[in-house]
């Protein structure tokens, strides 16, 4: 992990916070560090100590489904990559005997004299990110989790289906290690309950159950999988189609809360008793049951909150506000991720970035004062030198060494032309091998390095940094993947795998002979930002950037700031949106560094990351005035729109309203609920159907909000909410319960039997099939409120100007759903707010902050370095056909004229090195850095040169 290599991150493990004093910008924090009894600077991670350790304990990493030793490492790729002693189990620490590990350790890393120590650190800000944990499955007595080994939790099932898990990725049941035929998932285990567990919805369990079911079917297509659920809460981008996919691949979904699991002691099978929606009682037998457990706060949150002087909410998570979703009551202390409530991964990642930017706003004056850049020695010139290639072959523990004859491969490599040294190593990525590579490069005067190990995708940068530290240009490096391509795919053909490893190394050595040092082009960044869209997300992002000292243009299409937040008059949480909006608009308008331009639109965007030139049109009638803005990055936050349906008499009857119009009428007093009134709300209007196949995420909460408001004004007003699945995820579940307690009637309808609406005197008549009584319910309603879909804005001009990709739903697409949730596919353009997907207020705010965080990293650094893999064009060979420009997916090629002839020019900053241009070029004028035609041909030729 990169965090382990940053010179500016100090990782302190086995540690807890004991005391926080001081004020924002200037805290003193006391940390208690428990001993690991292993000197991390000496430990090489070889694992010999664990082989000798006689104490076997359940392995928490594999959810206790497998065993580990009392001295061990959490998982293979752990950072720091050092073993540690489990003090509860170690024989020496508890009974003063054994010390096998001390004798086994070759480097003398084990030190039982280590003591717990307290250290004090001086910091400007603190971010709490302590996460959540799975609820205890044993606490649900009627599910007999403790009695049956074949009832597993969601996390246990993750390990079961993992290739690195206890059964090597085979789906087996723990009691007899046999393949189960029938698996059931039981949703809401420990969630949405008043009896055994938590009242709130844990937000992620529906998603991961569907994921696990699909993964399991990919492993074993003949599995029979049933998911028992109350509501399937697949809100959020892409999940509704995911749900569809699960149904199509044969997963059975049964709407029922399972009350009991009976354990058959003879067969170890499990019997579920459940009542279907129509009231009929059923029994079914399964071989394996998965409980995707709800998530709960760590108990330690109480002491941590006390130490840090911050508050917890009623559920024991750290308390934040709707409009300040990352702030605590103590200035300078921020919270992010699962410690403030259950949430999916992208939200955690965005909150992390958001909290980072909060700290950055606070500490902007001290930015850069305590960090150091990694300094490198000057590069050694390799001109006129003979080839001196070093080959380093990795065992990867047993991962490669268990299949491939690594010593044989190493010896073979020594015989190849140009190779002067070849070694084999246990773990090439370990710190001691890095030191060895560095030393060998210097002592043997190597000028090319080949590493045969795992995948370059994860490890190439590590080795490149190492040879750079030894003075070699980082392009004088080749990596051979003998793990994925040899030991993994040919695990049972050891000889062939070894031969293939030799072939691959021979090819890499042939290529290495032709590689040359390449420079990393550096591009300066204009330290200004353009934010498109003056709604909640856009304003939040602009304020965050300006708060860190960066100048911003904020452009808004309409004549007024505020966007969709203007339609919100009250909130479920009780916080005042009008007050917040007005304060926000004032702050934006009065900030010296924010240049607000209303009634303006983007006409064209030229340039690339660091150097954008955007032409906007301004003026009341769009297009009278033009202005060119120069800026380094773009944040896209142009929001979303409300769908207007052509069903349920919308637009035909004045009693049929959109949900937000009802809200406005309630707030303004235009509608005063009467005890005689019936108000009907229909959910999923235009959502989760053929037209808009996604769930709009916010409509269930909005309906509950308006229902509760009406009940608050007049408890006697009748309210009916007609829904398909109620999805008030997270803590909003409590409001759903409140609404039911106050007499709001919830009736489920099926998409195949939509409610029927006819006009009557003074209102509309709504007929809906109630699946519980299996009869039509007829309601004469004064008002029918439609919870309609949130749909993407169509702005062809903007989309064309930016060439940012959109998802199938029509929202802007992020470059990685999980790990890069605010980066677009174009460098330097970030997305946030409802233009990315429909979301509630707090999520828009932290996403905007996350976008500002990613943008400010670039703006603060002031430059970007392009990878040397970019393409280059030989203008002598170029015939100017332009096919490369046409095919380039990143707009990185521009046709220009040189001496009146059309030639291709590479925009280095935009090029990703994908190679499309090079492969299409009919004149072979385009070559890729590190992958020239000459080098690839040498590799192919070497493949045919087998000497054995």
């Amino acid at each position: 992990m990169e965090a382990g290599r940053s010179p500016n991150i100090k990782i302190i493990t086995n540690a807890e916070i004991k005391e926080v004093s001081g004020i924002a910008g200037n805290f003193f924090v006391k940390i208690l560090c428990y001993p690991r009894y292993v000197d991390a600077t000496k430990c090489t991670g070889c694992g010999v100590c664990a082989q000798y350790c006689p104490v076997t304990i359940p392995d928490p990493y594999n959810q206790n489904l497998s065993l580990r030793k009392a001295i061990d490492i959490q998982y293979t790729q752990a950072v720091p990559s050092s073993y540690s002693v489990h003090s509860d189990y170690c024989l020496f620490l508890n009974r003063k005997e054994c010390k096998q590990c001390t004798r086994a350790c070759q480097t003398g890393a084990i030190n039982f004299d280590q003591k717990a120590e307290v250290f004090e650190y001086h910091v400007g800000s603190i971010i709490m990110a302590t996460g959540f944990k799975e609820c205890d499955a044993g606490s649900i007595e009627s599910y007999s989790y403790k009695d049956s080994p074949n009832i597993v939790t969601g996390l246990e099932f993750e390990r079961i289906s993992s290739a690195s898990g206890p059964y090597m990725g085979k789906i087996l049941r723990p009691s007899d290690l046999k393949k189960p035929k029938k698996i059931a998932f039981i949703q809401c285990a420990g969630s949405r309950t008043q009896i055994s567990g938590k009242s709130y919805c844990s937000s992620v369990c529906c998603k991961y159950a569907v994921k696990d079911a699909i993964v399991a079917l990919e492993h074993e297509p003949d599995l029979d999988i049933t998911i028992f659920f109350m509501d399937m809460r697949l809100y959020g981008k892409g999940f509704e189609t995911f749900y569809e996919r699960a149904r199509k691949s044969g997963v059975t979904f049964i709407r029922s809360r399972v009350s009991e699991i009976k354990h058959d002691k003879d067969t170890e099978d499990l019997v579920i008793e459940y009542i279907k929606e129509d009231g009929t009682l059923h029994h079914d037998t399964f071989n394996l049951i998965v409980l995707p457990m709800g998530l709960e706060p760590h108990k330690e949150n109480y002491s941590l909150a006390k130490t840090a002087g911050i508050k917890l909410n009623t559920h024991g998570f750290f308390q934040t506000g709707l409009f300040n979703p990352l702030n605590t009551i103590r200035e300078g202390i921020y919270v992010a991720g699962g410690c403030k409530g259950p949430m999916p991964l992208p939200d955690s990642v965005m909150q992390a970035s958001g909290a980072a930017v909060c700290a950055s706003e606070l500490l902007k004056k001290s930015r850069g004062t305590l960090i150091s850049e990694k300094a490198f020695a000057e590069e050694i010139s390799i001109d006129q030198e003979d080839l001196r290639i070093g080959v380093f072959v990795c065992n990867c523990g047993k991962n490669i060494g268990g299949v491939v004859d690594v010593v044989g491969v190493k010896k073979y490599a020594e015989t190849l032309p140009g190779v002067v040294v070849s070694t084999d190593n246990v773990y090439s990525c370990s710190e001691d091998t890095q030191a060895l590579i560095k030393e060998t490069v210097i002592n043997e005067k190597l000028n090319r390095v080949v590493v045969a190990a795992c995948t370059p995708r994860t490890h190439e940068p590590l080795f490149q940094t190492t040879i750079r530290e030894a003075g070699l240009n980082k392009c004088l490096f080749e990596m051979v993947n003998i793990r994925d391509q040899c030991s993994w795919v040919h695990a049972y053909e050891k000889e062939e795998a070894t031969q293939k490893a030799k072939d691959l190394i021979r090819m890499a050595v042939a290529k290495a002979g032709l590689i040359q040092p390449l420079a990393e082009p550096v591009i300066d960044i204009i330290p200004k930002a353009l934010v498109i869209g003056g709604g909640l997300a856009g304003m939040t992002a602009a304020l965050s950037l300006a708060g860190q000292g960066f100048e911003c243009y904020l452009i808004e299409k309409t004549f007024v700031l505020g966007g969709n937040l203007r339609n919100i008059h009250y909130t479920l949480e009780g916080e005042d949106p009008k007050l917040y909006l007005n304060e926000l608009i004032d702050k934006v308008n009065n900030h010296d560094l924010i240049n607000v331009i209303t009634e303006s639109e983007v006409e064209s965007v030229n340039g690339f990351v660091g150097n954008f030139h955007t032409v906007i049109t301004t003026g009341a009638n769009h297009g009278t005035d033009r202005e060119e803005l120069k800026h380094g990055i773009i944040i896209l936050a142009n929001g979303a729109a409300v769908y207007e349906p052509d069903e349920y008499l919308y637009g035909k009857s004045e009693n049929v309203l959109l949900q937000h119009v009802l809200e406005e009428r309630i707030a303004s007093g235009q509608y005063i609920p009467d005890k005689e009134d019936s108000v009907v709300m229909i959910q999923c209007v235009g959502s989760r159907d053929d037209k808009h196949p996604y769930c709009s995420s916010i409509c269930c909460s909005m309906a509950i909000k308006n229902a509760l408001k009406i009940k608050e004004i007049n408890p006697a007003t009748n309210i009916y909410i007609l829904y398909r699945d109620m999805r008030p995820y997270g803590f909003h579940e409590d409001f759903y319960k409140d609404a039911r307690d106050r007499g709001v009637v919830f009736i489920r309808y099926d998409i195949k039997h939509k409610p029927d609406v006819t006009e009557i005197d003074g209102g509309v008549c709504v007929t809906v099939r109630d699946p519980i009584i299996n009869k039509d319910v007829v309601i004469d309603a004064k008002i029918l409120a439609l919870s309609t879909a949130i749909i993407p804005r169509e702005d062809k001009k903007l989309e064309k100007a930016l060439s940012v990709t959109k998802s199938a739903e029509g929202f802007f697409l992020e470059s990685h759903v999980q790990l890069k949730p605010v980066d677009s596919y174009v460098d330097g353009i970030y997305i946030c707010g409802m233009s990315q997907f429909p979301k509630p207020i707090d999520e828009s705010i932290f996403q905007a902050k996350a976008a500002a965080s990613q943008a400010s990293i670039l703006l603060a650094r002031g430059y970007v370095k392009a990878e040397p893999i970019v393409s280059s064009c030989d203008t002598d060979k170029c015939i100017g056909c332009g096919i490369c420009e046409y095919f380039c997916p990143y707009n990185a090629i521009k046709m220009t004229r040189i001496n009146k002839k059309r030639k291709a020019e590479i925009v280095v900053a935009a090029c990703k090195g994908c190679g499309v241009c090079s492969s299409y070029c009919p004149a072979r004028a385009i070559n890729m850095g590190r992958f020239t035609d000459e080098q690839i041909l040498a590799q192919i030729k070497a493949f045919g040169d087998s000497k054995e």
């Binding site: 992990m1 500016n8 991150i9 990782i11 302190i12 493990t13 540690a15 807890e16 916070i17 200037n26 003193f28 940390i31 690991r36 490492i73 959490q74 998982y75 790729q77 752990a78 950072v79 720091p80 540690s84 004090e120 910091v123 400007g124 971010i127 990110a129 302590t130 996460g131 959540f132 993750e158 390990r159 289906s161 993992s162 690195s164 992620v204 994921k211 699909i214 993964v215 892409g238 992010a336 991720g337 410690c339 999916p344 990642v349 992390a352 909290a355 980072a356 930017v357 700290a359 950055s360 606070l362 001290s366 930015r367 850069g368 305590l370 960090i371 990685h816 759903v817 990293i857 603060a860």
Partner: protein
Amino acid sequence: MKNNNGHNKLIGAVMVVGGGITGIQAAMDLSEAGYYVYLVERSSAIGGIMAGLDKTFPTNDCAI
């Protein structure tokens, strides 16, 4: 480790408590943005819950 920067000055370092994906992401952002980070973790290695999730499904379809 105590810095003698006085009590009124802003300190250009941040402590991140928790070494799961959230803590790691916050630490990476801060260190890249120019702040020194202390990443404090209760267990013996960083990674948190995500390190234990099945990674055989690394496409964009991957759920949690």
